[in-house]
Amino acid sequence: GSDDEDDAGASASESDVAAEAEADGAEEADGDEEAPAEGGGEGERLIVGVQFLDDFVGAGVAGFATPPAYSSVIAQFMFDGLLELDPTQGYLPVPDLAESFEVSDDGLVYTFDLRDGVTWHDGEAFTSEDVVFTLNAALDPANQARTAADLAAVSSVTAPDDDTVVVELSRPFAPILQSLSLAIHPEHLLGPELAAGTPPGETEYAAAPVGTGPYMWNEYRPGEQLLLDANPDYYKGAPAISEAVLVAVADYDIAAARLAAGEIDLSEVSGAQLGLVEGLDGYAVNTVRSTNVFAIALNIEDPLLEDPRVRIALNNLVDRQALIDLLEAGLGEPALSPLINTSVETDAGASLATDVEAGTALLEEAGWVKGDDGAWSVDGTPVSMTLHDGFAPQIAEVVASSLRDQGIGVEVITGQYSDIFGQLFADPSGFQLFTYSFGAPTDPDSIYILFHSQATLANGGFNAFAYANDDVDAALDQARSVTDVDGRAEAYADFQEAATADPAYILLHTAPVHMVISDELGGWEPGLVEYQFVRFLWWNVEEWTKS
């Protein structure tokens, strides 16, 4: 229910939502108290196949050092944040450890009222000290926290009393609520160790972390599995399934095999494995739309690509349907906007749709000449471009092939992710086309680092080729500083219009997410959309049942 019609001020709106959500939470908690008794969940075990388990555990261990997105697997099982992002409401931040919160009118002071009676897995009481500690630790450069950049607008964190936390910002920053959903760690365990100068990853705490979430750390067998036990004292009520095991799977093929062998209850697979898991006895495949957009970044400083008409034409000429059919088993969607499937998507991207005639016309307009053999040339030289790729060679090949079909010479250069990106960071000028992937899973602001002229690689952004468009910049800045939903939506509409007229990317398609789930499992509810690596699969794991 993201179509909130409340037209009151920003703070009121947020509070309302928060209050609503609080009520929901209470209801859920009530329901859950009965669940274990009814479902006979006692002794049940949830077995989940997870890629990059070691990385996730490593990140979860130093959890505060990681945006919730990256640590989501561990964080959603073991930890809570001040707020959580509700997939059923377009990832609206709703109360979690904070019972409610208030935002000052100038958008600079956030006051959180903490939930009472929450305890850590070791029995200690959860207090505002823990929140202050975690946020300060994340901001401390010594801890090299990945979240530090997201929290850059925070100027101070204080705890007037045990139940209240006040976060002050130096400037209005709309996405801050999302950032404040990061996992909270126990001051009484981690605090002394960090104070002693131990790096987060090497603390004793990291070997057996303690949270407030629905599941508790039991045992970690590196490279193999992570064993978790249900937290009987979880504030929403004890989870119905008494044990959770996260099993490492090296890739989707192996996940498919272990699913087929009946060894795991659920795992994600990619489009390529659909043929293997469809019709598998005892499992169902759930396909979820996604915001994960594949794109080709364009080096706008390259003479061939300077002209926006050429960049629009490339968008028109690329065969998106081929990508979807060949790589996503026909289940992806053509992406004409970087904000596809988010709450702020508009139809501004229509002019980028695949349309060979329009593209051809635009190229001719831009001074390209099509020869008798169908090959394009500029100033008598046949057009030939390079397409660098570091992670999706098949996408690169299909794109290159479809552009070649249109008479544009494209040669694919693939390599290892770190190599190719290393080259890019070192010197982007040798590149023309470059495969990229991005998306706006929880807050549309995540595209800021892709389009804003300040977000160059040198500044820590992802705007690889120093794309700069004043209208785009203005719209993105505006979206950050207004805090009301409609105001932001308007700003993003402006952004999309400007970005469509002057594309920085060839936008390709979205890759949907396929979850294979055992029929024995109940209570799983997908978010609206999912994004690469940022899975909100587990957001309601405490409600799951297994028969």
Partner: protein
Amino acid sequence: MTRYILGRIATLVPMLLVVCALTFALLDLAPGDPALRIATSLAGGPPDLSRVEDLRVELGLDDPLPVRFGRWLGDVVQGDFGRSAIDGSPVTERVVGALGPTLLLTGSGLLVSVLGGLLLGTTVGLLPDRGPARLVRGGIMAMTGVSFVVPTFLVALGGLWLFAVILGWFPAGGISDPGEPRTIASTLEHLILPAVILGVGTNLGVFTRLIAAGVEEQMDAEFVRNARSRSIGPRRIVSAHVVRTSIIPLVAQVGSSMAYLVGGAYAVEVVFGWPGLGRLAVEAAQDQDVTVILAVTVISGLVVVAGNLAADVLLGVIDPRVLIARRTT
């Protein structure tokens, strides 16, 4: 003999040093700025360039190569392999923890390929190359030749689907059942399929052929004719005379296949979710996690060296002429 072994061991230390220095230098040649790489992975995106400078100073990356190597070596000698360049976690535990499973898997894989090679190679060497026996020979050669034609990862994937998924005879992965404690029985249950696949997928073909070649040649040797004249049973002729002499090249080969096995078990480890060194190495290689790669190098180097030493000693035991040649030179 004891002297010889001690001598060999005394040479191991400098040898490992050379290996470490070599690897260290090679990895140093890799293009790209390690500080940038670390900063990138720490930041999970484009790093803050001033951070990169800090890191460079912090990690002493501007020091000359020998200085860095010395520092690293000093730490390693104290049992500290440093911190992962990717997530900053300590490497020592991970590498040491992965060593056990790797030894188990490669050891069993080697056993499978040696025993299988002996059995099948001898069979092939003994069967006449004519008549219906030719079919059996061809059959065995084709079967063991699988490893020549099919890459190990495909054998592993195929084996996984056939034996674990379709037939359900073995678990499909891991070293223990999800959520259950590790026991010897469950470890064995999980070990069989990957070990057999590793043995068949890597060395069985070579071993079978080596043995077959030797047996075929030795079966007409004068001393075998002599043994026949002494009414020594065919089985004993094969086991005590022929195999012993044909096994010499095999033992030499085992030594060099150690590294192949240790480093090469990766495919099997990845496919079967076996928490071993190979898998660690693959992941580290893909992440370019230099610290982990170095640690894996040292540890697997130790294993391989030990294996080579064992093979060398064995060679001397089997073929006295080798020992004598060594003693006189």
